[in-house]
């Protein structure tokens, strides 16, 4: 088990280097904005822009062989030797790592809250519709899940804003959800909770639907298993048959997907954060793409990849506890 984890961690480093290389190539080699101009300011004179270019090393060749002084070499020297993601070209020279660190709490709160919401919805819905297959309840909820899956997050978010926003909404039930309070959770917990409620629901909607359908079909399959028949033949109460023998098996594969989905969301829920103006990683990524802030884009992409890889590892470790047949 330990050897397995060490091996996976080494692989993680290789993967992250590969991801960083790909983003470097995409944003540096392919034509895009001019970072020197971005840093110098839109109205800076050409001489000033050239000075900044030299200062940032952007006058060096992008890629040079053998491993000589070049932009890619500078980038990797910083990243590998100093674990430094560089500085933003826009936000007053701020280190990218600092930018990400400030944005991280909001993203984590958004992702974890949404996970709680969608599990609270999906688990009971999935179980009930499997047990009452072909009932009105089953058909109604499965129809609703199709709508939830089909509705894009940005559309759902805007509809929510239209309906419930404090100033322009038709039914302003929840005050202040459209503005993430300064200080976040630690500042004003009540205001924070109100501001996160709708984003959680919007982000969770499609996941809740997917998970409910998945749990339903898993459970339907499991309830036909021989060991469920054995559980009934033992004379267990139907509730124990369903929960201990059926659901226990049916949720196991869902844990795998949950880990990956959570990893993706921790890398930033770009659309939800943008629609609801939440200062998270996704919002940072969006802003830096708009501003052609290459170092920050690199940083957010690497971070997203990091979360996905780590959560995948955690899922695989968790799986060996959930299913005793799995051993590493």
């Amino acid at each position: 088990m330990l050897a397995y984890i060490v091996r996976r961690l080494l692989w993680m480093i290789v993967l992250l280097l590969a991801v960083s290389l790909i983003t470097f190539l995409i944003f540096y080699v392919l034509p895009s904005g001019d970072p020197a101009r971005a840093r110098a300011g839109d109205r800076a004179p050409p001489a000033r822009v050239e000075a900044v270019r030299r200062q940032l090393g952007l006058d060096k060749p992008k890629v040079a062989f053998p491993w000589k002084d070049s932009q890619i070499r500078r980038y990797y020297d910083k990243l590998v030797l100093h674990q430094d993601l560089g500085t933003s070209y826009r936000s007053n020279n701020a280190p990218v790592w600092e930018l990400i660190k400030v944005r991280l709490p909001a993203t984590i709160q958004l992702a974890l809250g949404a996970v709680v919401v969608w599990l609270l919805v999906a688990i009971p819905v999935g179980i009930l519709s499997a047990l009452k297959r072909r009932s009105l309840l089953d058909r109604a909820t499965m129809g609703l899940t199709l709508i939830a899956i089909s509705a894009p997050v940005y559309w759902l978010g805007l509809v929510m804003l239209y309906l419930f926003d404090e100033t322009l909404g038709r039914f302003p039930l929840v005050p202040g959800f459209d503005s993430y309070p300064d200080g976040g959770l630690t500042g004003d917990p009540a205001a924070w909770f109100e501001s996160m409620l709708l984003p959680w629901i919007v982000l969770a909607a499609s996941f809740a639907a997917i998970y409910a359908r998945l749990l339903r079909s898993n459970l339907l399959e499991v309830m036909d298993e021989d060991y469920v028949r054995t559980a009934r033949a033992k004379g267990l109460r139907e509730r124990d048959v369903v929960v201990k023998h059926g659901v226990r098996s049916a949720v196991t594969p869902i844990v795998t997907i949950l880990g990956i989905d959570l990893g993706v969301l921790l890398g930033g829920a770009v659309l939800t954060e943008t629609v609801f103006n939440i200062p998270g990683i996704g919002r940072l990524a969006y802003d830096s793409i708009v501003a052609e802030d290459l170092n920050t884009i690199q940083g957010t992409v690497l971070f997203a990849a990091f979360f996905i890889i780590v959560l995948n590892l955690l899922v695989d470790i968790a799986y060996s506890f959930l299913d005793p047949r799995v051993r590493y």
Partner: protein, 335 residues
């Protein structure tokens, strides 16, 4: 004369499906005496499993139409509520199944599954149930039960898993044990051990046993009586000796002739029964076996044969329209 422990009367189980009504069990009657052993033999699709699952209430699906009587210790289980049936399952009647790997939950240790069975029917502490579980594993000859109780099903061999299933079935001292193809998924050498174990436990614990199988060889030494099922009905019923020595039904002859025999030359070929079991939706008219029967007469396609006693052996019943003398003559030529 003692009352039968289990008395099945005219049991019918029909499933309504999109393709039509599947008459899985169509008028089956038999008795099992306390401590007795009955073998139910038939091909797959003969209704033998459905009949026993129905005793346990495990076929109470929406599309199932169940009629008849299943008297267990004098009480009709078909009329029992789900909760009443639950208390009978694993308590008065226990069941083991064909594939012990898929029949045990892969995520729980065998000890936990045994404890669960024990605690389903009694107010027993976990600790006491665990002690009992260890005893049960010892009873079914699992070596080192105190250690093996904490193993997972996949850590056992096939034969050992079936022993665990048997231990679990015996957890609450059932009066009746139904074994549905208990050895089919096992190696031949292990089959004999499991059958010997069932026989031994039946003697020691005085449990009545119903063994369901497609293999007459399996039950030859294990049961007292045999019921041969075909297309949802019993076509022949007799003491096990009579089934082997003087079978009356052409289908039983077919089953017997498809078992290898030591008293015949080694190159004597086995004789399969021609054709396939009939569709349970469109049963052939008359005797359901007539399309595969080499001795079919015109009348057999119209008249349903009743399960009548054989002359001079009231215990031996057969549902065949051939004259008794003709049957004896045919069998003496076949063997």
């Amino acid at each position: 004369m003692t009352e039968p422990l289990l008395s099945v009367r005219d049991l019918r189980v029909h499933f309504h499906t999109d393709d039509g009504v599947v008459k899985a069990v169509d008028g089956v009657s038999y008795d099992v005496m306390p401590g007795g052993a009955l073998g139910v033999v038939g091909e797959s699709g003969s209704g033998k499993s459905v009949a026993s699952l129905t005793l346990m209430g495990l076929t109470r699906f929406e599309n199932a139409e169940i009629s008849g009587q299943v008297l267990f210790e004098g009480r009709d289980l078909l009329q029992a509520s789900n909760e009443e049936l639950r208390r009978v399952r694993g308590n008065g009647i226990a069941m083991i199944f064909q594939d012990p790997l898929s029949s045990l939950h892969p995520f729980y240790k065998v000890g936990a599954q045994l404890v669960e069975a024990i605690r389903a029917h009694g107010d027993v502490t976990k600790r006491a149930a665990r002690v009992r579980a260890t005893e049960l594993l010892a009873l079914v000859d699992i070596p080192d039960p105190a250690r093996r109780i904490d193993a997972y099903p996949h850590e056992f061999s096939g034969g050992m898993r079936q022993r665990v299933m048997i231990a679990m079935a015996l957890a609450n001292d059932p009066r009746l044990l139904i074994a549905d193809e208990p050895t089919t998924a096992l190696d031949v050498t292990v089959q004999a051990q499991i059958l010997a174990l069932i026989r031994r436990l039946q003697d020691e614990l005085d449990t009545a046993v119903v063994i369901i199988t497609h293999d007459l060889g399996v039950i030859a030494e294990t049961v007292d009586d045999v019921a041969v099922m075909y297309a949802g009905r019993i076509v022949e019923r007799a003491a096990v000796k009579q089934i082997f020595a003087a079978p009356e039904h052409p289908y039983t002859w077919g089953l017997l002739r498809s078992i290898p025999r030591l008293d015949l030359p080694r190159d004597a070929s086995l004789v399969p029964i021609p054709g396939r079991p009939p569709s349970l939706i469109n049963l052939p008219g008359g005797c359901a076996f007539h399309p595969r029967c080499p001795y079919v007469r015109d009348r057999h396609r119209q008249v349903e044969p009743p399960l009548d006693p054989v002359p001079d052996d009231p215990h031996h019943r057969v549902a065949c329209l051939l004259e008794p003398q003709t049957r004896r003559k045919l069998w003496s030529e076949l063997r």
